[in-house]
Symmetry: C2
Subunit: 114 residues, 2 copies
DNA sequence: ATTGTAGTCAACTAAATGGTTGATAAAAGA
DNA sequence: TCTTTTATCAACCATTTAGTTGACTACAAT
């Protein structure tokens, strides 16, 4: 199945959010930067597993990382979150417009009936 | 890894959107109901594969299905899309507030410096 | 009654995902 | 220099995913 570039970005971003551990990391990072160890703290999984989750989030463009001695703090990228809501909302709004249109057709039918 | 019920719903919904075929189906359905065969038309995959994608979307609560003789038309459920944007926006807005707070701290520092 | 249309179920395969352990790198501090 | 902290790489394993083909069900139409 063909996939253009913007498809790939959406694939990676939505897939990244399809995991409760990574969503919890997003939630944590929304309140400020954190290191891998800090992100790992609430979970009973290995540090390596956490590191992989972080890599998934980074590849999805949902986070970036900086340097602070041997630490590599993670930061949320709100623009990427915004791109996702933009995608979803485009179709949600189209659907809602469609429903309204159907409603008015039904109303017109009722009028005619009467 | 533990998952409560609302976690499961988000997992399924985000996972459902992490596939270009299923996103194209959402796009199609935003313009009105369609059958499995109609949804299959733009893709070069088997009818059975399309049927599976539809089941994924239905299990995620992103679509519902009705009956029309031997047809089972699919309909988008905009409320589920809305729940996803609500989740994303909550953390996006928190992050943006956080950034603004940091900005004002930096401004204060500059003031002091001066 | 037979044929055609719409869709699903079951079994299988290939690839990707999420996890593990063990070894290693890179920087800071004793 | 030796040790500790922070994080990653590599190899491996179990499960899930997306696809296939073939058999099947349900309803309509001739």
């Amino acid at each position: 199945m063909r996939s253009d570039e913007s498809d790939d970005r959406l694939n990676r971003a939505f897939l990244a959010l399809a995991d409760p551990v990574r969503r919890a990391m997003i939630a944590r990072l929304s309140r400020g930067p954190a290191t891998v160890n800090e992100l790992a703290e609430p979970f009973s999984i290995s540090k390596q597993a956490v590191s992989k989750h972080v890599q998934v989030l980074e590849a999805a463009g949902l986070i970036t990382r900086s340097r602070d001695a041997q630490r590599r703090p993670c930061h949320l990228v709100p623009e990427t979150l915004e791109a996702l809501t933009a995608w979803i909302d485009a179709y949600r709004l189209t659907a809602e417009r469609q429903f309204r249109r159907l409603d008015s057709v039904l109303d017109t039918l009722k009028e005619t009936e009467r």
